[in-house]
Symmetry: C2
Subunit: 420 residues, 2 copies
């Protein structure tokens, strides 16, 4: 148990093993070693096939034993490219330590000689990782917010922070799916019935998930506004000539995305019609084509101007007030960081889809969620640390290559007009 | 007439003047000289104020005498950064020669001492420039298409070509507006009535322009398909509490954009419902908010997949067959290059707006046109040649920083499913 030997390729193995016993430099060498591998993205079809057909725990263990350290190490390497000041923030160091500890715990297992007790222990380690990393989003958000407030020109480095967070949080979504699939298939209460394989539903009823998300948002909306817009849903299935729309998907991801969009649409609608008897409904259109499944969520909540909507996917932009500073980075709440939309987009993009918003100022907003219709095309989108990544963090802040009048910058004000 | 002296700043003036008489290096020095200036973008408000209040021909002449060479020279410099092979194409050389000749003709005027005859002559030169440059879009398109067909890996340089053409064609839109404003205000038949100032309509009736564009497209559509979708238009004015929507704008630009979008929507709809008695209408929503004017054009023409829609704004992508090669680059037709959408987007962006498309595969497409509600915010977007521009052409083709399975690239096929 928890042995380092036999874990690495022959050449590196012995020296790393010795180092490991002696000092913590070994960890850095492990990170170097695993970051040289590229993550291997899987399609939903591959996840499902494994769960349905050859669901062998030892095979899953061996795969994770290589893939998890690879993905963790790629991310640790990328975190090392963040500005020094940001790396030094206590929250960032906490997150980094979680990644390092999880990597260490996984590589402690012997990939080639795991017995039944090792497999049970591996499950516990995976559950521990899920627990340890559960506040990664908030903690990283907190670190970046605090660091940002210390910057003289916080706008300058924003594109790099956006780049990093999109990649960092996407990587996290993938790591969680890998771990959850293993835990749910081989843990204490395995989920392997015809209607669910781990986190994956082979017949995910899209309109039903949409309605569930709507009901969840409606519940919150009614508590606060004492009312909520109705749901008006319309389904087109080009492929199966059916009024149903099913795909192989991770329903929790889809729910997360739709719940976020409904919350925004309801808030905008109720703010615009606070005393109306007939609040305009939120309209949803679900379409399934050969390649794409589309979900369009339209509200008549007044929309927002382009100067606002172009910032809706920025991590450092939120119309809501910032959460109070906290000495304990672990308990900072997600609400108020304004991460709902960017993270929802990452969920969509993670499996080859996307999320886009179009607003008509003075009328309302349309949100478009795109997913892949085919599970073979729904392939994980996973960041890799390579020379291009390095280049992205290194390149200087370029001046504009279009002429902008001096007063144009003033237009990037924070407009509280819309609650998105 | 056509004198070089007194045109340039004291230091450079004499040497350039002497050179000019002796050899054509002078032209290159003029290009160097003027490319060091940044273009000065104007707002629609400034264009209109000048036309309404202080419309003095000599002032307009002096402004153009500096601004036109600046914009032309910035573009010539940028063309010099294109790949050598592309620069050597006869079409590209033809376009470059037009830019050089026009620049030469403008700087031949003495900025400080123009008499009445000079002003008349200047008008003729401007009309000549409009004529000379009328096929710039097609000719440049032809050169790029021919060059592209000679490339082993045409995909590699596509981002740079896209970058160049977006800037080149935007610059051309601006130059044409500058020239047309002068010709229309001070030419043989000046357009300076309450309802039109040059190309600008101070009360541009947006729904009316939309309907005109619809009728133009309907005429073409009926000729080909013996029918056309109806127009269903809906207007919201948040600002003036009115059923009308007027802005200060260039109606010909707006017409160009909407005509293109209606053509696409009608084609998609008629292809999907070739024998239907009740073809679904094209739905238009016009909204005016504090900052943005929005026009949403929605069809039920079946939409297209993301693998197709993500390429709709690429110059080198068209689902239509390529026009036949021609010995005479001047007569190549625009139709067939598939430039309709990218150029329409540039018209919208030129004055601070945008054009975006969202498609629901299996159902239809929504096009969103955004314009600035306020003429003070509708400022020209003009490319400038600087170190960032240089950097864009120089930077190497980077490998991806996300893992993509090997077979994913095959998905970028050209899908003839949708006629956009």
């Amino acid at each position: 148990m928890r042995i380092v030997n036999k874990l690495l390729q022959a050449g590196l193995r012995r020296s790393v093993q010795n180092d490991y016993a002696r000092n913590e430099n070994a960890l850095q060498r492990m990170i170097e070693y695993y970051s040289r591998f590229s993550p291997t993205p899987l399609s939903l079809r591959q996840f499902l096939d494994f769960a349905q057909k050859s669901g062998d725990e030892k095979r899953s263990f061996k795969w994770l034993r290589q893939e998890l350290p690879t993905r963790l190490a790629n991310m640790v390497k990328e975190m090392n490219r963040l500005p020094d000041g940001l790396q030094a923030m206590p929250s960032t160091q906490l997150v980094t330590s979680w990644y390092q500890q999880s990597l260490e715990e996984v590589i402690d297992f012997d990939q080639d000689n795991a017995n039944c007790r090792d497999l049970v222990e591996f499950n516990k380690v995976l559950e521990g990782i899920i627990q340890r990393h559960r506040n990664v989003v908030e903690t990283m958000a907190h670190g970046i917010m605090e660091w940002n407030e210390l910057q003289k020109h916080p706008e300058d480095g924003q594109d790099k922070i956006q780049y990093f967070l999109d990649r960092f949080y996407t990587s996290r979504i993938g790591i969680r799916i890998l771990i959850n699939q293993h835990i749910l298939l081989f843990g204490d209460s395995p989920v392997r019935q015809p209607d669910f394989y781990g986190t994956i539903d082979p017949k995910c009823d899209v309109p039903m998930v949409v309605e569930d998300a709507y009901n969840g948002a409606k519940f919150l909306c009614e508590q606060y506004y004492l009312g909520a817009p109705a749901l008006d849903i319309d389904v087109h299935n080009q492929i199966e000539e059916s009024s149903e729309v099913n795909i192989i998907y991770v329903p929790s991801h889809l729910h997360h995305i739709c719940f976020e969009l409904f919350k925004n649409s309801m808030r905008a609608t109720m703010e615009r019609y606070p005393h109306a008897c007939d609040v305009p409904p939120v309209q949803v259109r679900v379409t399934k084509g050969k390649s794409d499944l589309g979900i369009k969520i339209s509200d008549a909540g007044g929309g927002a101007s382009r100067s606002v909507t172009t910032r809706w996917f920025e991590y450092l932009y939120s119309t809501a007030p910032r959460p109070p500073r906290s000495e304990d980075a672990r308990i900072t709440p997600l609400a108020g960081y304004g991460y709902g939309l960017p993270i929802s987009r990452l969920y969509a993009r993670y499996l080859g889809g996307d999320l886009e918003l179009q607003s008509m100022e003075g009328h309302g907003t349309d949100a478009y969620v795109y997913l892949k219709s085919l599970s073979t095309a729904a392939v994980e989108t996973v960041p890799v640390f390579n020379s291009t990544t390095n280049e992205q963090y290194r390149r200087p802040h370029l001046t504009g290559d279009w002429v902008v009048p001096a007063n144009q910058k003033l237009k990037q004000f924070r407009n509280p007009f819309n609650g998105h």
